[in-house]
């Protein structure tokens, strides 16, 4: 007897991660951090740390994919996806941090009247210092967030190695998606408070 496509699809879709069907994971991050500006990412001072972490993620993922049996396509796919996702997340994070630092620099320059060369600033006022302080604070916080993000990424890559069934993958994926969302929220919060600190003394 013929089984309808609708029924067969329902069976097939059980493989789909539940947590991902309502809201696509990473879409928040994708919207927030989407413009890739590689040349800027290369400039950022936190790069050595991040680069080390990124290569660690990549090597962890690579070693795991080597361990997987050829038939274990779900886990293999998961590692590939994780690798891509982490590379992108790290890069986006660096870029957005750099953009925020640029923004801070611009504020300071605007207030000193275009960063005079050699000449003395007309009035070294308190608000300028406040802007610099806020920028420094934001930068410190951003680096902390970056570290935490990298740690989660590493943990995710490690855990994926032990994921042998689609069910494991689903669980890990939704857990990772949740953590990722929390970071984005935290980062947004930090940005907001930075913007507030930098602008409230106009």
């Amino acid at each position: 007897m013929r089984r309808s496509l609708v029924e067969l699809t329902a069976v097939a879709s059980r493989e789909l991660p539940d947590g991902l069907s309502a809201t696509p994971a990473g879409s928040v991050a994708a919207v927030v951090n989407r413009t890739p500006r590689r040349e800027r990412a290369a400039e950022i001072q936190a790069t050595p740390e991040a680069a080390v972490a990124a290569s660690e993620v990549a090597s962890v993922a690579a070693s795991h994919s080597g361990e997987l049996s050829a038939s274990d396509s779900t886990a293999e796919l998961a590692v590939k996806i994780a690798k891509e996702f982490q590379e992108r997340a790290l890069e986006d994070f660096r870029v957005s941090m750099n953009a925020a630092l640029d923004y801070a620099k611009n504020i300071v320059e605007t207030r000193t009247g275009g960063a005079p060369k050699g000449g003395r600033p007309v009035k070294p006022e308190a608000p300028i210092l406040t802007g610099l302080e806020a920028a420094a604070r934001y930068r410190a916080e951003a680096i902390e967030l970056l570290k935490a993000n990298v740690e989660t990424a590493l943990g995710y890559a490690r855990e994926l190695a032990s994921a042998r069934s689609p069910a494991d993958f689903v669980e890990l994926s939704s857990e990772h998606a949740r953590k990722q969302c929390e970071f984005v929220l935290k980062q947004t919060g930090a940005l907001k408070s930075f913007a507030r600190d930098a602008t409230k003394r106009e």
Partner: protein
Amino acid sequence: MHVLALVTQKGGSGKSTLAIGLAVAAMADGECTALIEADVQGTISKWKDRRTGAYPHVERVADTAEMEQAIARLEAEGIWLAIIDTAATNNALAMRAIARSDFCLIPARPTPADIEAAIPTLIAIRRLGRRFAFVLNQAPPRGGRVSEAGTSLNSLGLLALPYIGQRNDHQDALGAGLAVTEFARAGKASEEIQALWRWISTQLIGESSLRAQSVLKAAS
């Protein structure tokens, strides 16, 4: 530049044919469009060899580095839309195409094999947080099976409209180095591809205006 990726690990579902059809339909709409072929099968390159016109531009890429270069090059040339055709597998190149795209299209014929094969692709797309839609391709002219397939795909995600019917014009156009909108301008197949392009362009433009809004919000 918008990037549209045609992905699914099912062979023969019509990725290359749709990529060509949509690229030429977008060109006819006045958009600067290019094709990126990430499939060693080379369907698009062979089609381009048969084609007399210079456009659309076709870039062949064999690995992820080449894909990045091709995307950067096309962007620098002022291309508005790049359409990536991928191989019928979930390889690293297909993953990169998904990761680099603004929108993914998953063509599926009304068969269980096509719908099942779309699931791993769908997982990848969701993990990478990409927007996507199914296209019901090579649909028979009428009957319950088409609506059944439509319902099935709709239960998995957004379904692009209209369905693309099973018509010889698509294959004949391919053989002639033409797109279906050039081969049989007034035909049904041509109409469907044009309508599908309009649907997709709305998705792409809608997305970029949303993005602009979020940027404005962040700036204010």
